[in-house]
């Protein structure tokens, strides 16, 4: 699919999301992340409005988020944190600050303990959905006490990530969680910022080696939604890591763009199941990052 078709695809996805009547679910958090990323990449008002109008209907003036969220997991409304902070930055509407404060009352408790292969899937999605929110809130609105705990949580995953048996989609989630959190961390708390940057470098190298060893992604695209989503997130995270200066451009960018190109040939349009939707939104996030890489 050509880039111009991808942009049309993105706009169509935004319209579908805005018009959607299905019950709220965790995949909505993925969608909002994707459209916020697209807006930050190319400034198109449609993507901004998609996020803001969705939130405006569901966040009351006193900051209460009025919707149940399913799809399992313990995080539910906290998963909307990143989108809420996006709205706060864009509108300075007090409701979003209040909503963020309320979400942090539970999201601010960062779990501790080692993450192993058995808990990796849940933990990595938790990291992907919540860590960037925690980092941004802590750095911009909070007391900057969480940076050490955020770093410690990611470090607790390190052993699990080096396992060859760890599915690539989970590695993709972790990489995206790292790059998104790194972007929001207070850089002057350097020891914690640097811990994440070093982890990102290590994980990125691991991902590349696994891609090349399997000769999967770079020769032929993955065939199921989770694999597709994982690879999209990996491409997204590598491109973002390059943009943040945390990853070497010469080593990672071309391969990430190559992988992105393969993925875009099989975009999961029309997918209605959660995995399919997540894969679609992951691809849109990668599209956003590719757009930024092209501009630079």
């Amino acid at each position: 699919m050509r880039l111009i078709d991808l942009n049309v695809f993105a706009e169509k996805s935004a319209r579908e999301f805005a018009a959607g009547r299905s019950a709220p679910s965790l995949t909505d958090a993925w969608a909002l992340r994707a459209f916020a990323a697209l807006y930050q990449a190319d400034g198109k008002p449609q993507f901004r409005e998609t996020v803001l109008s969705w939130l405006e209907k569901r966040v009351s003036r006193d900051g209460k988020i009025d919707l149940p969220m399913g799809d399992g997991g313990g995080y539910k409304k906290e998963a909307l944190g990143a989108a809420i902070l996006f709205a706060d930055r864009e509108t300075q509407d007090a409701r979003y600050r209040l909503a963020a404060d309320q979400l942090m009352e539970t999201a601010g408790n960062i779990p501790s303990g080692q993450i192993d292969e058995s808990t990796a899937a849940f933990s990595m999605e938790e990291a992907f959905l919540l860590m960037p929110f925690r980092a941004e809130y802590d750095a911009r609105l909070g007391t900057k006490q969480l940076a050490r705990f955020i770093a410690a949580r990611f470090l607790s995953c390190r052993k699990a990530l080096t396992l060859e048996s760890l599915p690539l989609p989970i590695l993709g989630l972790y990489l995206s969680a790292l790059s998104d959190t790194l972007e929001k961390m207070e850089i002057q708390l350097y020891e914690h910022y640097r811990a994440l940057a070093d982890l990102l470098t290590e994980a990125a190298g691991l991902a590349l080696r696994r891609w090349e060893a399997q000769s999967g992604l770079l020769d032929a695209p993955p065939q199921n939604a989770p694999a597709l989503g994982g690879c999209a997130l990996t491409a997204y995270a590598l491109m973002k890591g390059v943009r943040l200066g945390a990853l070497d451009e010469e080593k990672y960018l071309k391969k990430a763009q190559l992988a992105f190109g393969r993925l875009m040939d099989i975009l999961p349009d029309g997918a209605d199941d959660p995995q399919g939707k997540k894969a679609k939104y992951a691809c849109l996030m990668a599209l956003a990052e590719e757009g930024r890489a092209q501009k630079e």
Binding site: A139, T143, K144, Q145, A147, E186, I187, Q188, L189, Y190, E191, R194, T201, G205, G245, D248
Partner: protein, 515 residues
């Protein structure tokens, strides 16, 4: 009289060992038979000498004279920047011409900046040269940050196993704009003369929203990384965008008769911030700045734990610290340790604090401040002569419980320590807040405080001031020595005059010896 330094074109002398910034009595100077007038400073410099020449210097006090002979070394050649196209008219961009002259200079040569105003961007030094500013020569730093190159903080090695550090900001390897004069890995360089390096920060936006990083962190006026054998003599540095003189990971540095100036309300314009350096000699330098005059540093925890390079073997003498937050400060970034610091025969006036040691939990186990001594220092109107604060509320997390708790915390890899601090023959008049405020950590108290042969007196209209920047420290006036969490305090032959209330207010302290 003692010769401190001789170059092909200049020299510096210590006239009076017993003075402070000023000699106890001025001397009349005569050089090779020519009268130079009266010299009132304890350390002075002479310029406009000729290379490879014998000189006789006489210092007269009444009918008595001291004589000293010296010979200037040879010099290979002089490159005048105007021959490289520099205009010095205050308008033309002279960056390329100045840089070309520096890079073209042969070993042992001299780059000469004649009288004039040279608008320039950041300049990079080269080894084995002398850069001389004639009287009236001014470098006027550009004011548009878009024209400044950036020094990246950290660049990974190609194999991703190592790193190359270049830029620095407040103790972390972060991207910063290149400084007016930058030296990376250079040696054997002399920057001399009666010229001025003017950062013109007030004309740009460096002091506007200063905490915001826009593009990169703010540049300094003089920045060194991994350099050795560098001398700066006679120059005036002013209106820096941030810290003024910032040598890092360098050794054998000498500063003679330098002036550092910034408005009192300018943000973070520390005068001199050596960071993880060894063997520094600073004589006869004058500071009047908007933050600490001198702040001896050794990085934050990442740098301390990875490299643990202390700042050590530092002598500061015959200097003058006017206004500014601290006269001589250690920290707060001292994760690599600061040790063997001698401050003697200095004059301080109007500073908030005279000797100031600041650190905090989180600086790391290598953050040891030890063997720091003040002697023969005269203070006038220094509001709190001695402050040691192990709970300094700096950095984004400075006011959190982790930093500020008065309860014992576990001693771990992030816990700093403060060893031996000595004040000897210090005369402080016009104090305001207190004689001294010492706040250690409950889990790791300050080691030893010794104050001997010293006198502290207060001004009658003393204004209250919080003596230390830590949570819960109230403003006070005319207090004596206040200490908490200190192992040993010794006071010998020392007087406090004009204290209201107890002379000693000690809590959770160990041994006290008074004689």
């Amino acid at each position: 009289m003692k010769c401190l330094f001789v170059s092909a074109r200049s020299c510096a002398f210590l006239l009076d060992e017993a003075g402070d910034y000023y000699a106890q009595t001025p001397r009349r100077l005569v050089l090779n038979g020519e009268s130079l007038g009266e010299e009132e400073r304890a350390v002075f410099s002479l310029f406009d000498l000729w290379p490879d020449t014998d000189y006789t210097l006489e210092a007269w006090l009444g009918d008595e004279k001291e004589t000293l002979t010296f010979r200037t070394p040879k010099e290979f050649c002089t490159l005048n920047v105007k021959r490289f196209g520099a205009k010095g008219d205050g308008e033309n961009d002279d960056t390329a011409a100045l840089q070309a002259a520096i890079l073209s200079c042969p070993d042992g040569g001299r780059v000469l900046i004649p009288n004039g105003k040279y608008v320039t961007g950041p300049l990079f030094l080269k080894s084995h040269l002398t850069l001389e500013f004639k009287k009236g020569a001014q470098l006027l730093l550009k004011t548009d940050r878009a024209q400044f190159p950036i020094l990246p903080g950290m660049t990974r090695s190609t194999d991703e196993q190592d790193e190359y550090l270049l830029g620095s900001w407040e103790g972390n390897p972060l991207s910063s704009f290149a400084s007016a004069l930058t030296g990376i890995g250079v040696e054997d360089v002399r920057l001399i003369g009666e010229g001025i390096v003017d950062g013109r920060a007030q004309e740009g936006d460096w002091w506007v929203r200063p905490k915001e990083m826009r593009g990169a962190f703010r540049p300094r006026l003089f920045y060194l990384k991994d350099c050795r054998d560098i001398t700066v003599q006679g120059l005036t540095f002013r209106n820096s965008p941030a810290w003024n003189l910032h040598p890092t990971f360098s050794e054998n540095l000498t500063f003679l008769n330098v002036r550092v100036e910034a408005p009192a309300d300018s943000p973070n314009t520390d005068g001199f911030d050596p960071e993880s350096c060894r063997r520094i000699r600073m004589y006869g330098t004058v500071f009047s700045v908007g933050d600490d005059c001198i702040a001896i540093k050794a990085g934050k925890i990442y740098m301390g734990m990875k490299y643990h390079v202390p700042c050590e073997d530092i002598e500061i003498a015959y200097c003058c610290m006017l206004d500014g937050h601290g006269g001589v400060t250690v920290g707060s970034e001292m994760a690599g340790g600061v040790r063997n610091v001698r401050v003697h025969h200095c004059f301080m006036r109007g500073n908030d604090r005279g000797l100031r040691i600041k650190t905090r939990r989180g600086r790391g186990k290598y953050a040891v401040a030890d063997d720091i001594a003040f002697s023969d220092v005269r203070m006038e109107g220094v509001r709190a002569p001695l402050v040691v604060n192990a709970m300094y509320f700096c950095d984004p997390d400075g006011k959190t419980d982790f930093v500020q708790s008065r309860e014992k915390q576990p001693v771990d890899d992030t816990t700093p320590s403060i060893g031996s601090i000595r004040f000897e023959s210090v005369r402080a008049s016009g104090c305001e807040a207190c004689v001294g405020y010492i706040l250690g950590l409950p889990e790791r108290p300050v080691g030893q405080i010794l104050i001997r042969d010293s006198v502290f007196s207060f001004r009658p209209d003393a204004r209250p001031m919080p003596p230390a920047m830590a949570s819960g420290v109230e403003a006070c006036s005319r207090r004596g020595l206040i200490a908490r969490f200190v192992d040993s305090i010794t006071l010998k032959n020392t007087r406090f005059e004009g204290v209201e209330g107890k002379e000693l207010d000690l809590e959770d302290c160990g041994k006290l010896e008074q004689m």
